[in-house]
Structure formats: C-alpha cells, structure tokens
C-alpha cells in the first residue's frame, strides 16, 4: 500500500506574540489524533514552536508547511525576513541578536536553533540576506 500523507499549511502573522505557537499547537493536536508516540509529538511541538517564534521575532512572520507521513514529519518554515548573516554563529548556543524589548518578554537566550537541532533528525537552513530564510526540519518516527 502506498504511504498516505497529510499536508498542512499555516500562516504566521508578523510580530504578534499572542498568536505565535498556534501552528505548533494545531499540529500537536493532529499528531495526537493520528496516534503518534508522545516523544515524537513533543519533539515536533518544541522545534516547530521555536521556529515559529523565530519567524515572529526575527523575520516579520511567514508560512509553515507540514507534511506528515507514517515514518516522518517534515516542517518547512519560510519567511521573507532579513536572512541570517552567519548560520554557524546563529547555531551556537547563546548567540542572539534579539533586542532588549524581546528579551524583556523572555526570549533571546539564543537557545532556539540549538534546541531545534537537538530535537529534529534533519535540519537544513537556506538563507539569503535581504530575501529571507527557509528552515527545513524532519523528525523521524522510529529514530530515537
């Protein structure tokens, strides 16, 4: 039998902290209904939330495409933000360009990208200064 898949699409609004997390929350619900193991659900939820919040804080929003298949969950986050100058630096624990305002809200520890790396099995960042960033992450179901 050919593997079935479900595709989901979410728009992420610009600079709105109150709705950030809605997409990852919705995906979490879908994964629960599909009966995925709780560990997989949590890894997807945490990494997707971090990425979603990055789009809000650093990149004026964007959109997320999620594809769920029996063996993996792929999340592609696309924004038209400023891009990332040095990906290696951005990936380092503690590196952050978040401004004081954002830090006041409890963000800007520079732990988002490292956590996404830790919780996903594959992660690819494509970025162009002034054009935007695509963060493509995959969580495999049977890989722990």
């Amino acid at each position: 039998m050919a593997n079935s898949s479900v595709k989901l699409h979410y728009e992420v609004a610009d600079n709105d902290f109150t709705v950030a997390g809605e997409a990852s929350g919705a995906v979490k619900k879908v994964l629960r209904q599909l009966g995925f193991p709780s560990d997989v659900i949590r890894r997807v939820a945490v990494s997707m939330y971090e990425c979603e919040i990055n789009m809000v804080i650093h990149a004026n929003g964007g959109h997320i495409d999620v594809e769920i298949t029996p063996d993996k969950i792929r999340m592609v986050h696309t924004d038209k933000g400023p891009g990332i100058k040095d990906i290696g630096q951005a990936m380092q624990k503690g590196f952050s360009t978040a401004n004081e305002e954002v830090r006041q809200l409890g963000f800007g520890a520079g732990m988002g990208l490292p956590n996404m790396q830790r919780y996903t099995d594959e992660m690819k960042i494509t970025t162009e200064i002034g054009k935007g960033t695509v963060v493509d992450m995959t969580v495999y179901v049977n890989k722990f």
């Binding site: 079935s4 629960r32 599909l34 009966g35 560990d39 659900i41 939330y49």
Partner: protein
C-alpha cells in the same frame, strides 16, 4: 487496547436524561471535548471523560449528576468516621470555630471525625523529601487533584514522569483514621467505615477506581451538599463543643489554590487552578516554554478545592472564611509513620483512541477530516451536537455523525435542490 479499557472505566459523572434539554452548554465547557448532543441529549463519551465536574457546574438544568454514596451506606459498618477536607470548613457562615463543625458531624451519624488536613501535613513532609532527591529534569507536578492526574494520563503522557507518585491527603488521612479507630475501639479493619465528604466527582472516582492504588482506604464518598443541610440543622443543637481539631495551618491551607506550595515553602512555582487553565499550562510545559520552575500545583477547580462543584458556598467566600479560621493556628506537622504513601503502580498512559490504529488509514482519515473541515462554516456554533467544527469533522470521519447534521451544510444542500426543482418545473411547463 488502552482505549477499550477506558470504556470500562468507572465514572462518577453521568447524565440524568430526563432533565437534559440539549442546550449544549456542558458540551461547550467540557475541557476534553467528551460531550456530544445527540437526539437532544448531552451524552458523555466515556473514554474521554476525566470526571472533572465542569459540566456539573455549568449545566443550567442540573442534568449532570454525580453518582456517590449516601448515609445509608454507614449502616454497613460498626464505627463510622467522617473524613473532613479543609475546604469543607469554609462552607458555613457564622461558624468561627472548626471544632463546632466537627462536633456537629458526630450528631448526624458519624461516630468520629478525622481531618484530611492531617493527611495533607504528612504528604507535605513526604513531598519535601522527594523534591530534595530531585531525580529528573524539569519541574515536579503535584498529584493532589485526581482530575488533573487523569488528564495527564489521557492527554500528556510525556509529563507523567513529572507527577509526584504520592497518594492524596485523603488517602493518607484515611489510613491514619483507620489505625486510630482500630486502637480506640478494638474493631477489625472491615468493621470501620471511613467516609470522605467530597467537594467533587473526581474524588468519588479516585475512591471507586483509583488510578495508581490497588485499593482505596476510603469506604465511601458523600457529597458536601448532602451533608450540608443535615449539619446546618444539627449545628443549632450543639450545646458543648468538643475539642476535636488538631491540624495546623499548613494542612488546612491546601483547601485553596497555592496552599500546598506555601506549605512546601517553594520559591519558583506555578499554582494554576481551573481545568482550562491547567490544560493551557501543561501544553506550555510540554512545549518546554516554562523555565526554572521547580513545582507545579495544578487544581481542576477555580480557586482550588473550595471551588469543587459539590460544595455549597461560593469559593471566594469559602477561602476568606478559611483564612480567618486558621489565622491563629500553628504550622502543624502531623506524624505519619508506617503509612503507605507511595503509589502502588505507575499511572498508565491511556490516550483517547486515534483515528485509526493503522497509521496509513489514520492519515487517510485525517485527509478526509481536513477536507470536510474546509467545507464547514468554521463558526463552532455547536448546533450539530459537536463542540467545534473540527470535532464535528472528526466525528463524521469516525462514523459518529453526518455532514447534514450541520444546519449550514443542510441549507446549502436544500438551496441546490430547490434550484433543481425549479429547473425541472420549468421543463414541464415548456
């Protein structure tokens, strides 16, 4: 399968069909989307219900009932003890003395009384020990509220290891009360009745079918409201108040939200109350949005156990009274030696059943669900009998509802039909 087992679960909350008007109020407030209105009656999906009592509180026609024990059950025992929860003491206006309440209980059929606050003091001490060991990452979650423990079992499996595997103050108190009574009376264990006066259906369920214990030490559960009227009358005829209360401030403050944590003396904590707030908090915890938190006290009822749906008094008034009643008390440190305070078994993850046990089939059903959802008005009006358009789409996919149950979809269909008939009518004329 886990979900089949949950079908067989005992539930204290049920529907009195005759009183249900099908108004959908309970359905809209149920935190686990466990209610559907079918043929004008609000049915509970057993595997989803956590007996939180939110529907009991919300139903304007009082059609959601709580099955419990009553005073007749006392006849099965030679010696009966009332287990009095701290929240109970806030139910009475004009009562400025806990001893009066306790003395009154001995006039309405109980041979003795025992304060659950003493159990709470014992649990407080034990919790401190466990927190000091700290053998996992992230915060500990209190296991005091059975509705919350059940919620975690069905919805938040990744958090289950954070729940403190301790029995409740009620169970600790029941063990202590039994032991004391056996010594005092010389009776056998099974001749002694221990009755919890309950503010909530969750505690009834916790006694009838404990999640983490092999058997409860409590013999029966009687709702606060059933004891209340009897007691109010009896209080008038109390001429000599006995000195019965021995518990301190730390135990009694468990009655309200935040009290448990205050007794523990923890700095970085979250005290959340109200089942919808609890769910929001646990979602955040699961998504690792909470940092540097050591302890989470989560209670299903707003304001804590004083907000239990079987209470009589408004929770804010009750909390204020409890504050006054305990002002002069010492901290309180009940001794609980040789009690069995740890859980007998781990709470199993018992999720709501997925769309299908075969992941490929589940994905196909999810596609259908998304397609159906896209066609629905997305107003979450509830007139189809499901709590939201998404839940309705899920019910259709599960074969439990039909698209024409949506009045908007039905109207669209009728419009199409009407046009077709009009066309046909024209053709006949021509």
């Amino acid at each position: 399968m886990a979900s089949e087992k949950r079908e067989l679960l005992y539930h204290s909350v049920c529907l009195e069909e005759g009183d249900c008007k099908g108004c959908t109020t309970c359905m809209r407030y149920c935190p686990t989307q466990a209610i559907r209105v079918q043929n004008g009656k609000a049915k509970i999906i057993r595997e989803k219900c956590i007996d939180c009592g939110e529907c009991v509180r919300r139903c304007p026609y009082h059609a959601k009932r709580v099955v419990s024990d009553n005073f007749y059950t006392l006849k099965s025992f030679k010696h009966n003890i009332a287990l009095v929860a701290p929240a109970f003491c806030g139910q009475f206006s004009k009562v400025t003395n806990i001893d009066l309440i306790l003395t009154g209980l001995k006039k309405i059929g109980f041979d003795d009384v025992f304060e659950v606050a003493r159990g709470a003091e014992v649990i407080t001490a034990k919790t401190k020990e466990i927190l000091a060991e700290k053998n996992h990452e992230g915060p500990y979650i209190s296991s005091a509220c059975p509705a919350v423990v059940r919620l975690i079992a069905v919805k938040f499996p990744s958090l289950s290891d954070m729940v403190i595997p301790l029995t409740s103050p009620m169970e600790a108190a029941a063990q202590m009360a039994r032991r004391e009574a056996m010594e005092k009376t010389g009776l056998e264990d099974d001749e002694i009745g221990v009755f919890f006066i309950s503010p909530c259906p969750a505690k009834v369920t916790a006694v009838k079918q404990p999640l983490a214990l092999d058997k409860s030490s409590v013999s029966g559960v009687i709702p606060v409201k059933d004891v209340y009227m009897k007691l109010v009358h009896a209080l008038k005829s109390v001429d000599k108040i006995e000195k019965l209360s021995v518990s301190g401030k730390d135990g009694i403050r468990w009655a309200r939200s935040g009290g448990e944590t205050e007794a523990l003396g923890i700095k970085n904590y979250i005290a959340v109350d109200g089942i919808h707030n609890v769910i929001k908090m646990l979602e955040e915890l699961e998504d690792e949005k909470l940092n540097n938190i050591e302890f989470i006290e989560a209670l299903a009822c707003t304001s804590g156990c004083t907000g239990g749906p079987l209470n009589v008094e408004n929770e804010f008034v009750a909390n204020s009274r409890i504050r006054n009643l305990t002002e002069h008390l010492e901290k309180g440190e009940a001794k609980g030696e040789n009690l069995s305070l740890m859980w007998d078994k781990k709470v199993e993850y018992e999720p709501f059943s997925p769309l299908d046990t075969d992941i490929n089939k589940a994905l196909t059903k999810m596609q259908q669900l998304e397609e159906i959802y896209a066609r629905l008005p997305q107003l979450d009006c509830g007139s189809c009998g499901s709590p939201s358009c998404r839940d309705f789409a899920e019910d259709i996919v599960r074969g439990k509802a039909q698209e024409r149950d949506c009045i908007f979809r039905l109207r669209e269909k009728i419009e199409v039909l009407a046009k077709e008939i009009e066309e046909l009518g024209k053709m006949i004329k021509e």
